[in-house]
Amino acid sequence: MENNLEGTGERKLQCDDVSKCFQLLESILDGNEGLDSQEVLKSKLAKCQPCFEHYHLEQAIKEVLRTKCTKHEVPSQLVENIRQKIEEIK
């Protein structure tokens, strides 16, 4: 997946398998990978510029989605209506 540039301090500018790498990075970001995923992440971000950019952009998008998306308040009558209907079918 990556050329071995470890130790050179430079990141390669092209990722050899963008889809596979990006999906793995997203899965790590979403907390769906195993315990060793942080090591894999560290290594990928250190070696590959597209992976580095993708991860940080996805992280930022995830954060703004979570914090900024409009939330709608539950209409006041809804809970009462549900309870009333439940009583009717009991």
Partner: protein, 197 residues
Amino acid sequence: MSEVQRKKYSDQEKNRIFDEEFMPHIDSMYNFGYRLTFDEDDAKDLVQDTYLKAYRFINSFEQGTNAKAWLFRILKNSFINDYRKKSKQPAKVDYQEVETYYNSDDVDYGITSDLRVDSLKDMLGDEISNALNSLAVDFRTVIILCDLEGFTYEEMAKILDIPIGTVRSRLHRARNLLKEKLRSYAQNMGYKTDEEE
């Protein structure tokens, strides 16, 4: 409701499960319903139907399992089976076409390289919400479930009745589409999109 009936709960147990395990999720349920339908009344109907079904089929719910995921699955099925059928608008998603196009590596990298993290942080909540809302419902749904509601891929697979591999790839494609929308917003609003810092 495909789960095998495990045991019959007493009325007292039913009421406890309903009050303590189902009702606390009404906020997330209503927002999910609203984000699927974009209509307050439809969202209310969907949530009400979901809770009535949840009560009716409460014996299919296994205590100790994820009640929120169970409820989301019922709501999503109600949306597909009831709401979409009732709605005069046909499903707008030409899913195959979109999915095939966005399975391209060029798209992956092209989008990543010209949307800036800084400009995202400057965007308003409405701009972020509008970008999400403009996605086709199947793509919108995976982002809502993952990023807004925090479900795991395994839970999403169960809610959507699709394999985990499809959850991963659909989410990846949904994110590419969202980035494209966000990039358009950024350009229109005059945020910088040209170079990464």
